[in-house]
Symmetry: C2
Subunit: 465 residues, 2 copies
């Protein structure tokens, strides 16, 4: 009911604005966008791309041979699909090796627990480290631990992520992102966290973590939820619980990886471009299907649908596949630096949007543009309304993930919001595989990306204004 | 609606039979059974037992140190709960070591695939074996493979188990149980099957397999469903797919393990006993919570509830926790042999029932008794009707799992049937952990077991007649 009401409202808005003023978003542009979108819904391209990427390449851990295979795959596909330009831009980055990781409970009961190293963690000394575990209900309790109170201990944060999407992820994720620093400040030898995930599988969740200059680096790992339950139950006996942690993770000197770009060149002002992005790298546990193979497939597919529409937009549509997102938006940071400082062409980006939300169906469109162009951004949004995409009345979007760095550097952006999914059941785990992808949803998402980016590249408006 | 209709019908039947004839199942027996059942529903015992077993012991792979810990746990618990007799009966059995198992796709694409060795499989030669894979849609196609047609190849059965409970399990499971023989007859070096399971997790399903005298033993392993999907997708390219399999599994000379028994001794004829069973051993990947920690907890709890009822049944209620079920009902086979041949007291078992169905809520009661005693068995069933347990009008039950060997050897039996669950999502995987257990369902199941076994042990009837 709600969805139909939104569609009806939006249709009214489109008609009304067409009559009331001369919009730079012409009826012809809208009609062509709809034509592209309708064709996109009939296409298997997005499905074929995600199937191909996960089957032929698999994971794409930044800096590894698989990362290179992923870039070669993306460039080959974009060339085969007839993109006008396909190129790479270098990104320096310290290669991380996951190595092996094991955790045994040695007292009061004996168990092999399922863990994974957190991304960029150091390893343990060879032979591992055995220590009593000290439980903290959540990150903020760990932060309050007194210096030396955890000397020779393993800190453990047991909070289970609430199933509230990004909100729950952000809150529980503090333990992953900053827990090693807090634990080390209190003297801990290592930190173990309950996985930042909403499932009950023995597939622990990795993810990025941070060290701080001047604070001892300690190994950091995540337990699967069932293993964290087991540890919690063992701790309830009130006896000391001892864990043996062994990890061989380590980082290397910087290597070069690359952001991969592909362009459908604009007919009138090709230097200017709408940038639609995703990240090509992934963690190494699954095949990087949801995170972010879907995004890669959606934005590549969207650009191809524009090409197949037979009419170039006036400005370019550029696909950007960011490198080393997982380790902390490294490819995006370098992109901003290089295009601000070296190429000085950062302002040629008209508008940016990223897809890094797995397999959720797009249900809303949120602009983040200048005050004058907002009405045009909303008109673009209204064209999407009949496809079940509501335009949010906010104007604060900065772009998701990598793209947020570009947004913060001044690029106008739109965010495309999704239906809630079970994304955080699989996120950063071995379970991030093709079977989890909703092919209808990503086909829809590619159609939405194609329509919005075509219109944004064709319409004569400055979104910074 | 249906459930209420059943309850109403059953209540009528109870009243009617009470009036129409002098039943050996007296109103006092029924009332006492209901008293026991009502107390059982209020108890946390079943929940506490399964939590304790999985926390303090974990898996119980037959013949391992954990198997011994499991037996010690069970005997200690039964003694602490005041069982009259607790003892072990030896079972010889060839110890199996899982060792390590890895599978790489080496061409046309490179992937590390998630596998587990099937139980009792041999390993590969050291360094592994690399061979082209030949896909079969299902077991019956593999059986038809010509001799030598798979020489130097790895056979792969890709059938996905239908989500139809035991029916789907039995059908798809042929590949697991007998695939290695069929593959070896056609010359294969190894067999890989898609896991016999209904989930989409990277947690492959182990389970028993068989070799045949005179047929070469080959290594056998199962892929997780997402990994089988990936292999299927790679095979669709039509190029040779090469796998490198390395497994260090091996069996040893027989060791001794034990069936564990505990008894609530009958007040009049203690040699005679109702036998309620489960298997104490488990596979080693999870903590053996569903398979068969729930059964262990349910039957131990049921006996304790009878004890707590304050009135001994005339004949004993005996809990039997079978050894080495997973490797092929080895403890049960020895129990039948020993009690038929050595002790010659097999006929003292009045009636048997096993729980090896995970966390499903009991919804029906199926007798397998002599023609004369059938009406009494049904009367017992009718007492369970108000608790949502329908008595089936069949009379063919032999007992589940281990107990089926006793049923086939002449023991009267009842089967307790469960609501469909997602049991085969977790069965024989690392995901068989405490969080999957429905504590309300197993509390209900223990109440049903307590009521039925109390009545069966107290009523003056010969269930073989």
């Amino acid at each position: 009911m709600k969805k139909f009401a939104l569609i009806a409202l939006a249709s009214m808005a489109v008609s009304f604005s067409s009559v009331a003023q001369e919009s730079p978003l012409t009826q012809e542009m809208k009609d062509h966008a709809v034509k592209i979108g309708e064709a996109a819904y009939k296409s298997n391209l997005t499905k074929d791309l995600i199937t191909s990427l996960t089957t032929e390449v698999g994971h794409r851990l930044a800096g590894t041979a698989n990362d290179k295979k992923g870039r070669e795959w993306a460039m080959r596909k974009m060339r085969e699909m007839g993109f006008d330009r396909v190129w790479e831009e270098p990104v320096d980055f310290p290669l991380w090796h996951r190595g092996s990781a094991s955790l045994e409970m040695t007292a009061p009961f004996e168990h092999d627990l399922h863990i994974v190293a957190l991304g960029t963690s150091i390893g343990t000394p060879e032979g591992g480290l055995t220590a009593e575990v000290v439980q903290f209900d959540e990150y903020k309790d760990l932060v309050e631990a007194e210096p030396n109170s955890l000397d020779g201990k393993i800190a453990y944060v047991s909070l289970r992520m609430a199933k509230t999407g990004l909100k729950g992820y952000g809150y529980a994720g503090q333990a992953r992102r900053m827990g090693s620093v807090a634990a080390a400040k209190a003297g801990a030898s290592a930190i173990i966290i309950r996985s930042i995930g909403t499932d009950d599988n023995r597939t622990p969740h990795t993810g990025s973590m941070n060290y701080e200059d001047g604070v001892t680096k300690i190994p950091a790992a995540a337990l699967s939820n069932p293993d964290a339950d087991l540890l919690d139950n063992a701790l309830k006996y009130g006896e000391p619980v001892t864990l043996k942690l062994e990890m061989s993770s380590h980082s290397h000197d910087p290597v070069v990886t690359y952001n991969v770009l592909g362009e459908i060149t604009g007919s009138e002002d090709p230097e200017k471009a709408v940038l639609i992005g995703a990240h090509l790298d992934s963690w190494d546990l699954g095949t990087g299907a949801l995170d972010d193979g879907t995004g890669v497939s959606i934005v590549m597919s969207a650009a191809k649908h524009i090409l197949d529409g037979g009419k170039r937009p006036k400005r370019s549509v550029r696909v950007i596949l960011f490198a080393a997102e997982e380790e902390g938006l490294i490819g995006a940071r370098e992109y901003v630096r290089a295009h601000k400082e070296d190429h000085k062409d950062f302002d040629n980006i008209l508008l940016g949007a990223e897809w890094d939300s797995g397999t959720g169906r797009i249900i809303n469109f949120a602009p983040g543009v200048g005050p004058t162009s907002l009405s045009v951004a909303r008109e673009i949004g209204y064209v999407l309304a009949p496809y079940g995409v509501a335009t949010l009345m906010t104007n604060t979007a900065k772009g998701q993930s990598d793209m947020s760095l570009l947004g913060n550097a001044g690029m106008p952006a739109v965010n495309l919001g999704m239906e809630p999914t079970n994304y955080f059941d699989f996120h950063h785990t071995a379970n991030d595989t093709l079977d989890k992808v909703d092919m209808d949803a990503i086909t829809h998402n590619a159609a939405i990306y194609a329509m919005f980016s075509y219109m944004a590249a064709d319409v004569d408006v400055d979104f910074t204004k």
